[in-house]
Structures are given as C-alpha cells and as structure tokens.
C-alpha cells in the first residue's frame, strides 16, 4: 500500500512544480498524530507569510499614490523595485526551509505514520462527482478551476470536522474509530464558531 521510496523521491526533488505541490499541500493543514506541533507551527508560519505577501502589494499601491501627492519620486520608486524582490527571495528561502524540514520529518516516520501520511496526501474527492454535483445545483456548466477549488476546500472542511471530532473523542475518554456522537458534537462546536456555513436558519439574538 505505502510506497515510501516513491514518496521520498517526490519530496526529494527540490526542483520542479511537483515538490512545491507536495510542500504547499501542507500549508494550513495539521500534520498527522504526534508530529502535529512542528508541522503546525511551520504551517502557521506559512500562513503568516501568505498574509505578508498580500500586504506588500497593498502598501506599494499606497506608495504609488503618495508619490504623486508628495513628490518623493526617487526614494519611493527605488523602494518599489527592491521590496517585491526582497519579499520574493525571503519567501523562496522560507519554502526551501519548509521543504527541508518536511523531508527530515517524513524520513523519521514509522510504517503506520507513513501509511497515514500517504492517505492524507493522496485522498481527494473525485472531480467528476463534484462537477456533477455543482452543475446539478447551478443548472449551468462550471469551469474546471471551480471544481478544483471546491474539491480542495471540501477536503479542508472534512479535515476540520475530523480533527474536531478527534478532540471531542479524546476529551470524552473514548478511542477511535469515531462515532456519530463525536461527529455531531464536533459539528455543534464548529457551528458555534461560525465555521460551518448555514443560510437556512437565522440566529436571533435573545431566545
């Protein structure tokens, strides 16, 4: 079932889009089992870097307007040229570190952890079924990118529920496999945090 050799070469090849694909699969997702903390902190770092990438673009736009207003032409334009380059290099370096850390982590996995990790990375919703589902709701055809985006988000959504259900299971002193009562409690908790979209029932203030 698990093919560690194949998986290691996937991560080993630092060049090419595949490696970035395997790395960026980790972004925002928790690592399995006990290896959660390191993966989580690095994934949080990546999220922060993503947020930082948005900001330079906005500040640059702001600086464009300042340029015309205050007349600080040379320094502002120099800043514009340097900043995106620096941020790009910094981000590239962070990716490199991320890739190396992931390689070290995955190389130290046990057999069972490798199996689970492979399932985590490879499992996906079938694009055909998702496309059929969306088209049956809209009545019109949808582009391929929409299907890709929707399956990706749905996988993250499923992951959030399973993680919360595992928290509930542990808190209640039960063991996996997860039972429906854990899933329902997980949904109830996520609903109170507004992480589950719901347009059917409006919440009134004071019952």
């Amino acid at each position: 079932m698990a093919d560690p050799a194949r998986m290691k070469t996937n991560l080993g090849s630092a060049a090419g889009p595949k490696a970035e694909e395997s790395e960026e699969n980790e972004v925002g997702d928790k690592g399995p089992g006990g290896s959660e903390t390191s993966a989580e902190s690095t994934s949080q770092q990546i999220i922060k870097d993503d947020a930082k990438m948005e900001h330079p673009k906005e500040t640059n736009a702001g600086e464009d307007e300042d340029e015309g207003a205050s007349g600080l032409n040379p320094p502002a334009s120099k800043k514009l040229k340097v900043d995106p380059e620096k941020k790009k290099e910094k981000r590239h370096k962070v990716d490199e570190d991320e890739i190396q850390k992931m390689q070290v982590l995955v190389s130290s996995f046990s057999e069972e952890q490798l199996n689970r990790y492979e399932m985590y990375r490879r499992s996906a919703f079938p694009k055909a079924a998702i496309k059929r589902l969306i088209q049956s709701i809209t009545g019109t055809s949808v582009s391929q990118n929409v299907v890709i985006a929707m399956s990706g988000i749905s996988k993250v959504f499923a992951g959030e529920i399973v993680e919360e259900a595992l928290d509930v299971c542990e808190k209640w002193g039960d063991t996996p496999p997860l039972q429906p009562k854990h899933m329902r409690e997980a949904v109830r908790r996520l609903k109170s945090r507004d992480q589950i979209p719901n347009t059917k029932y409006k919440r009134t203030f004071f019952h």
Binding site: V162, L166, N198
Partner: protein
C-alpha cells in the same frame, strides 16, 4: 432544543436503526464513500472508520458544497459560479483561503509546464 431543530439530517440518523435505508438525504446514492474513508484515515481516524460516521461526513460535505454554490451564485455574476466568488466567500477562513490560492497557483504552473513540455516535443 435549538440545536436539534437546526440539524434535520442528524434526526434522520436517529430514526434509521440500521436497516440501510435512510429518509431524506440518505435516499441519494453514496457519492464519496470510498474516498471519505481514506480521507478520514489520513486525518487521524481509525483505518476502518464506522460507516455511520462516513455517512454523516458525506452529508456534511454535500451540504457544505451546496451552501457554497448557492452563495457563489448570489454574488458576483448572478446565476453562475466563478472562482473569484469562491475565493471571496472563503476570504475570512485562513486555512481554506491559503489552500485555494495554492491549488490554483499550482494548477497554473502545471499547465505551463505541460505546455512547455508539449512544445519541446513538437519542436524536436
């Protein structure tokens, strides 16, 4: 209680006492049973998750997709679902937002790589 009113799907799980046919959502054939089992194992559940749990999760995912689709149809270009609408709806959730951006970026890269590869083959 308010929660039970909000979740009619779960009431159906209560009613179903294992005869294999559920009312309402369950009438539809199970779309993602195999994939969801692998996914649950990957996310930390047991290697053989309970069928009832997989069913609950499938109903939740289908409801999620339905909600997102309806919301996307109501914003931007009405009646159509576009990627920009999905990205807009997901903007508050950091995990999902980052994931969507990565997926779309990677898709572009792969398309470019495939195109360059095909052109190289065609040339030689």
């Amino acid at each position: 209680m308010a929660e039970e009113e909000d979740d009619p799907t779960f009431d159906e799980d209560f009613d179903d006492s294992g005869n294999g046919v559920e009312a309402g959502h369950g009438k539809r054939k199970r779309l993602f049973s195999k994939e969801l089992r692998c996914m649950m194992y990957g996310f930390g559940d047991d290697q053989n998750p309970y069928t009832e749990s997989v069913d609950i999760l499938e109903d939740l995912v289908i409801e999620f997709i339905t909600e997102m689709t309806h919301k996307a149809m109501s914003i931007g270009r009405q009646g159509r679902v576009q990627v920009e609408d999905i990205v807009f709806l997901i903007r508050k959730d950091p995990r999902k937002f980052a994931r969507v951006k990565d997926l779309l970026t990677m898709n572009e890269e792969l398309k470019r790589a495939r195109k360059a590869f095909d052109e190289a083959n065609y040339g030689s």
